[in-house]
Amino acid sequence: MHTPLNRPAGWLLAGRAQDFYLGVLIAVAGVLLLVWIIPAQVNDAGSFGLPPSLAPRALSWVMILCGVMLALQNMRNTQRAGKLAAREVLFLVACLGAVGGMLLLMRMLSDAIDQPNAGFLLSAPLGVIALTVLHSRAPLWAYAFNALVAPLVIVAAFWWGLELPLP
């Protein structure tokens, strides 16, 4: 018996239980692995014992079975097991975007300047400021500490302490 859902704003997966869709997704991913990824990425030619694709194929079948089991278990279940809201996904994208942007800038500056630690010292403060802004409204000293003191301490520890160069 399906019960009406009081759907909060921002749900990405709604209607049936989230786990139902997750089960379907897992099963589809397993099928894709079997019919596309494994044949394209594993070469069985030349194997004299068991083919290299045996374990990946067996595990894909396990995933398909798990996905089907999960979907069947939750077909009539309208309760949601976890919370997956659009704004949470956006926050994840923003955080990873900040780190990814920092990495791209680090690589670019590192290639351009060609000096150890230069890329890190110039880009890390920006990345850390972005993450601090994403966390909350922090006092000014926190931005200064995170952007200046922390990268300098990290460089000192890795470059002078462990003799490991940063980009």
């Binding site: 990425q41 594993v42 374990a55 990495l103 690589r107 940063l166």
Partner: protein, 495 residues
């Protein structure tokens, strides 16, 4: 005997001693930060160990594991914010005791009980593991396959709220373990043309990606909604030291907790949370004043802390004797062993005996250091919970990036870490067990190898299966054990 002396000498060398000490400090500090915990501290510390000697590296991670165990109690007691599910049991009495003006006594109770529980289980490990390894050596690939399948099913059955999700997570981990060059034909699998993937996925990048980064992102997100009120931290007036007399009166709950923790830790999959709550329930049951538990009774703290710390040592019993990691910290230790070219399992006592006995010595040293550093730095570590999260989390995330860059020598692994952070975040949100995933990833190559060897052995003479009745019995028992555990999962689950 010479090997044991040499191992203790190795463990007492300055570099190993300092590594263990650094690990203990890192573990306590990261464990004390609300929202972070010992496995995350270990994941973050793995890249730092790449350039170290094997014993120093593994000793450091053992230090992190033990320090993190006590560090978790600091946040639980002072802030009522457990970093791990098992610390929730410590908050039941720890926080009320701290709020009643005895925070130092609560922390000292946790520290002494944690070290006592840990030492007891380490002793059991040191005495039992070499003997059990002799029996384990008699197991061939067929028996090993059966044991691995049973263990993985056990772990999947007990992790999270769904067997299907648990098995899926383990299968996904094992699938990703096949990335790299095939051990038999040397042909690349799932490398997508990247030469960096020929050696397989870098464990440090995957572990930090799925474990640490999603948690940090969640803590950053929580910061927008509000954060734990550090103004509510209980403070000591300096009059609440724990007298030795009182500590001795706690010997019964401490020893009971250590026994429960050791028994549970020796079985793969049953976690620290179960040990902590079982020990707490047992103490309440046998207490002369059960009503006092939950209102700030030291017995409650002693029972939970000794039990959850005892799990960590006992978890190394299946790891060192069979190569099976029973929980997340043990899985990360396997990763560290493999990074340094050491394969855990019964043969480790023959091939790398000096390293294993060195590890035992490092565990004893780590316990002593947790006691000394914890006692001396109690006031300082208590201040960690007051450090604002907008300072901690961005810097910890930056450290994750730097650690992976330095350990893997390039940006590729850092991008991989970010990719796995996405996977880990969705696993966190959809309640798919990260523990099963990591254990599947670590056990994957071992399972593949033993199953391949078994199939080759049996394909020549299928009737030879009857020469392996123990393995047949284990495989036949697996679905029944899983069914029993699923029935009781709600009660036994690690959360």
């Amino acid at each position: 005997m010479d090997v044991i002396f040499a191992a203790f000498q190795d463990a007492l060398s300055l570099s190993t001693f300092l590594s263990v000490m650094a690990g203990v400090v890192i573990g306590i500090v990261i464990g004390a930060i609300p929202g972070l915990n010992a496995p995350m501290a270990m994941a973050v510390a793995i890249p730092l160990t790449f350039t170290m000697a094997p014993l120093a590296a593994i000793g450091m991670l053992v230090g992190v594991m033990k320090g993190g165990g006590f560090g978790g109690a600091i946040g639980a007691i002072l802030l009522n914010t457990p970093g791990e599910p098992h610390s929730a049991a410590t908050t039941l009495d720890g926080h009320p005791m701290a709020r009643s003006g005895r925070p130092r006594r609560a922390l000292q109770t946790a520290l002494y009980s944690s070290v006592a529980g840990d030492s007891c289980s380490d002793l059991v490990l040191i005495l039992l593991a070499p003997t059990l390894a002799i029996f384990a050596l008699k197991a061939g690939p067929v028996e090993l396959s059966a044991i691995l399948i049973l263990s993985l099913t056990l772990i999947a059955s007990l992790s999270g709220d769904s067997l299907a999700k648990g098995i899926f997570a383990a299968a996904l981990g094992a699938f990703l373990a096949t990335v790299g060059v095939d051990p038999e034909t040397a042909s690349p699998r799932f490398t997508f043309g990247y030469i960096e993937l020929f050696d397989g996925l870098p464990l440090a990048a995957v572990a930090i990606g799925v474990l640490a980064v999603p948690e940090i992102i969640e803590r950053l997100r929580e910061g927008r909604a509000g954060r734990p009120n550090t103004g509510d931290v209980a403070t000591s007036q300096g009059e609440d030291r724990m007298p030795l007399r009182e500590w001795i009166t706690l010997r019964v709950p401490v020893l009971r907790g250590a026994g429960i923790g050791t028994a549970i830790g020796a079985l793969p999959g049953l976690g620290t949370t179960l040990a902590a709550f079982l020990s707490y329930a047992a103490t309440k049951r046998f207490s002369k004043a059960p009503d006092k538990l939950g209102t700030g009774a030291p017995e409650g703290i002693a029972a939970t802390e000794s039990a959850n710390s005892a799990v960590s040592g006992a978890n190394l019993i299946p790891l060192l004797t069979l190569g099976i990691p029973g929980n997340l910290t043990a899985a990360l230790l396997v990763g560290a062993f493999l990074i340094h070219g050491v394969t855990p399992g019964p043969l480790i006592f023959e091939r790398d005996a000096q390293l294993v006995y060195g590890l035992f010595a490092a565990m004893i040293i780590a316990n002593i250091l947790v006691l000394v550093i914890g006692s001396l730095g109690l006031r300082v570590f208590a201040l960690i919970v007051k450090v604002p999260p907008f300072v901690i989390y961005p810097i910890v995330l930056l450290l994750c990036v730097v650690g992976i860059y330095v350990s893997q020598g390039g940006f590729f692994a850092v991008w991989l870490m970010l990719g796995f952070a996405v996977l880990g975040w969705f696993m966190l949100k959809l309640r798919i067990s990260v523990v099963c995933f990591i254990i599947g990833l670590v056990l994957g190559p071992m399972i593949e190898l033993s199953i391949r060897q078994s199939v080759i052995l049996l394909s020549r003479n299928p009737m030879a299966i009857f020469d392996h009745l123990f393995a047949v019995a284990l495989v036949a028992l697996t679905p029944f054990v899983a069914a029993l555990l699923i029935r009781d999962r709600k009660r036994l689950s690690d959360g």
